[in-house]
């Protein structure tokens, strides 16, 4: 089905002890979580010590992996075949809790209390979009540092751009280096005062404007928040940077997940280009929900012509319907092949693994094994 695209060698990748992190990225609704879970299960059943970090799994899939408690720690998945000596742990990211833990671990108890109680912190940690990406990176770094597993499989947050998690450390860095924060800190940090001098009268207008826009209370809360976080932010940034660097090493394999649809493949092309630009190691494209037919040599046109013949003879109505159904399937198969061929023409070196469409959703280990086997099978 994959045309001339090279086949993605899934099993060698999963078995290779040098592969330490697999990141599944892609746009929403293409089966990222299922792919991550299926790969993790397959690696575990081939003997590796695996942990899978999921962001937002479907309820029944989560339940099948024992992810009922949101306690933000990896739990062993029951029902995994451990004959090869592997095991599988799974966890679901709880972003607020991850953030709280960072605060508690890196600030003095008194300061931690002040931060946790600050209204800015509370909305930043629990409801503002973007925090999830920071926290996914943080958790990935933590899991890696724990060194309990030899393979970490990560699902990425369903953000407006699924590469937001890559941008998170840089954004955090630019914020910390930003002059705005120093102004807010009012010279508490080196350089702040110098800026005040340079800005002179302009600065007075500025704080006036800020107060006008935000209200004095907001500015005060924000300032308290920034001052309180100041000491620990540096550490957070260092770890996020380290995780970012880790993602660039050869021990990481990025998989771009897509479905054979125009929009999903366009997003996939964007991811592939972006990963290349960031020098992130791309392993290949996983194409989910690919339609196939056991009678690929019977074309849509021939099947429809046959159905018409039967209609005219007013005979074999069931066969006529079966032929129309097959014609429909073949049109879909051809359309998907055309879309993939277009992708491959633009990105000829990206290896592809495809997974045939299943009539129902995957919600148990058996279903994950089926997906894993399909991924590993040469296209």
């Amino acid at each position: 089905m994959s045309g001339r695209a090279p086949a993605l060698a899934v099993d060698p990748m999963l078995r290779d002890p040098a592969t330490r992190i697999v990141v599944c990225c892609g746009s929403g609704g293409v089966g990222k979580t299922t792919t991550a879970a299926a790969l993790a299960l397959r690696a575990a059943e081939q003997g590796r010590q695996v942990v899978v970090l999921t962001i937002d799994p479907a309820r029944r899939l989560a339940a099948s992996m024992g992810l009922v408690e949101l306690d933000n720690t990896p739990r062993e998945v029951a029902g995994v075949d451990e004959a090869a000596g592997g095991r599988l742990d799974a966890m679901m990211l709880d972003m607020k809790r991850t953030f709280d833990e960072v605060v508690l671990a890196h600030a003095s108890p008194e300061r931690a209390r002040a931060i946790l109680a600050n209204p800015f912190y509370q909305s930043l940690s629990s409801s503002f979009s973007g925090t999830q990406e920071y926290m996914a990176m943080e958790k990935l770094g933590q899991l890696r540092a724990e060194d309990r597993w030899d393979l970490i499989v990560v699902d990425t947050p369903p953000s407006r751009s699924a590469l937001d998690f890559l941008d998170a450390p840089a954004r955090l860095g630019s914020f910390l280096d930003g002059r705005f924060i120093r102004v807010l800190l009012g010279g508490a940090r080196g350089g702040g005062r110098a800026y005040l001098k340079v800005l002179g009268a302009g600065f007075a207008a500025m704080t006036g404007a800020l107060t006008k826009i935000l209200g004095a209370q907001v500015l005060k809360d924000m300032r308290t928040f920034v001052v309180a976080l100041d000491t620990m932010f540096g550490g957070f940034r260092e770890r996020a940077d380290a995780t970012y660097q880790l993602l660039k090493t050869s021990g990481t394999a990025f998989l771009v997940v897509a479905a054979p649809e125009r929009d999903a493949l366009r997003e996939a092309a964007y991811f592939v280009e972006r990963l290349a630009a960031e020098q992130m190691p791309l392993a290949g494209l996983v194409l989910n929900r690919v339609h196939v037919s056991g009678a690929g040599s019977l074309s849509a046109e021939r099947a429809l012509a046959g159905a018409e013949t039967l209609d005219e003879a007013d005979d074999h109505p069931l066969t006529a319907d079966l032929l129309r159904l097959h014609a429909d399937r073949m049109r879909l198969v051809k359309r998907e092949q055309r879309l993939l061929a277009r992708f491959t023409a633009a990105h000829p070196r990206v290896a592809v693994a495809d997974v045939p469409a299943q009539p129902g959703d995957v919600h148990d280990l058996h279903g994950l094994r089926v997906v894993g086997a399909a991924l590993a099978e040469p296209a």
Partner: protein, 329 residues
Amino acid sequence: MARRDPDWDGVRLHVVTGKGGTGKTTVAAGLALALAGDGSRVLLVEVEGRQGIAQLFDVPPLPYEERKVAVGPGGGEVYALAVDAEAALLEYLDMFYRLGRAGRGLRRLGAIDFATTIAPGMRDVLLTGKLYEAVRRKPGRGRRYDTVVLDAPPTGRIGRFLGVNAEVVGLARVGPIRSQAQSIMKLLESPQTAVHVVSLLEEMPVQETCDAVAELSRAGLAVGAVVVNTVREPLLRARELTAVRKGLVDRGEVAAGLKAAGVRSGEAVVDALLAEAAEHAERVALEKTQRKTLAALGRPMYQLPLLPDGIDLGALYLLAERLCQQGAA
């Protein structure tokens, strides 16, 4: 057939959400065209920076500016706007505080970055603020619209997106930001706003639709319609589906049929056709269950067909027509 009264008389702001991959941008565009049908002027807004509207209408990427992208079937107009948080903030500062120069100063300081990226909730405040401005635009402040359609963030983030102003009210106890946030909340919670949820007849989108409907209702937002996208008609008759499901199809009969049809075939082709039929029957059965779940939500339900050749401008008009026929406009 006489057209019945549209379901959303009095609604000025249509928010279209849905799980990622359900086609909410397409539905939002179709709805905008449908609403423009009778000569109205409609603004279609996107906020996720994906330029999905430009791609759908096959126009160059949209700048931060309202551009006409299509003419409705009855002479109405559809304008489109891709809202950018940074531009919205500068515009906001300029409009309310005449901060022309100071605005630039804020950018140099990194305050704009702070507002639009590091405090990402601020981003949603700005985006909903721009939306509010478009709906409540005063005479003399630019083109006015009868209706605004928002291609909103996906179901996973919609509650947070629309609820961000409640949070701001909690943070800012006084000041202009607080009153602005209160006005936006008032609009979003009024009968002038309807939040439509796009779904597919698949388990996860249906689950997310149910979750979103519950979340929106809890937040006091008016849930509009449930739009079932990419609906496929069963290609087998009911009794054929039953036969296929129960494995009662006579293989010899199918083989004979293929022969009569002039199709060269063997056991393998018969097997393949029956396998495809079995998958089809299983899917039809699953879809029936999912449809029941959606119907139980008790919201108006619109069905849009799967268009096998993909979505282009012609397809959008077709979807708009289907939405009109079902009472959406």
